[in-house]
Point group: C2
Chain length 160, copies 2
């Protein structure tokens, strides 16, 4: 994987697009004082290099009736069951994120649910998977931070 070198122009482009993927290239061009063609070429290069892997909408899940977020830590009998359990978890759509982890838990995941009752169903489903010893749930009372933007600045300016 040849290390792809990004310059300030690339950074600025990413910075704007990470906030709004539909920012017109012409706007970006104007702000950076370059041509729209250049913006286009840069973005295409970053896509080809695999730096930009896609784009997605930010949705208000509360308004969609999914106001419940929890993190669930999973304990396994044996770590060799990890792959099997992940496959079962992958069949539960409400699990939006899952990581294999070191530390307390073997697997760690995030779930989104309609309400506590719905969350309970989901957690029971996880508990019921073969190989899962027990789970530990942390319910989110408030999502206080969720921000890719600051990280970008950190990456590009070597802050932190």
């Amino acid at each position: 994987m040849a290390k792809f070198k990004l310059d300030d122009t690339d950074h600025s482009i990413l910075d704007m697009l990470i906030d709004n993927t539909r920012t017109p290239f012409t706007d970006i061009a104007k702000k950076l004082d370059i041509s729209a063609g250049t913006v286009h070429v840069r973005v295409k290069k970053m896509e080809e290099a695999g730096i930009i892997t896609g784009s997605s909408l930010k949705l208000d899940y509360k308004k969609l009736g999914y106001s419940f977020i929890a993190y669930v830590g999973i304990f396994l009998n044996k770590t060799s069951q990890t792959q099997f359990v992940l496959e079962r978890i992958n069949e539960i759509p409400s699990v939006t994120v899952a990581h294999v982890t070191t530390g307390k838990f073997n697997i760690f995941c995030k779930i989104r649910a309609k309400n506590t009752s719905h969350a309970k169903d989901i957690i029971y489903k996880i508990d019921d998977i073969d190989g899962v010893t027990r789970t530990e749930t942390m319910i989110s009372l408030e999502e206080s931070i969720n921000d890719k933007k600051r990280l970008m600045h950190s990456i590009f300016n070597a802050l932190d």
Copy 2:
């Protein structure tokens, strides 16, 4: 907050845009056999209703030199310090997500770092915040699932 009712057309539009926010409205229109004008109107309505709150890029952070992900649980002296600690945490760009939680921890957050050494610096910073008793770290060995798409299907088809 008047409950906004989404129909199948809206669902399908969200479905396509959540995968790629730059999918041309003309393409969506073709696939759904409606006019591009209608797609436009629907999207605008969902934006106005606050269902679509924005868009963002998916980036390969590994290629940007940030290959380290960890979750950090934070214990506080008193829950009344929550807000203060959150503000301090908010000053650390590598913390990309933070939740106030019930359960083991008072605050729960996700960090992205270059490597273990960098992660250590970040965790020490968190530990040093006034009011933080101690922290517990779970290092991600592998991000196995990260998918909004399945959740959408669950939401719209009442699966799960």
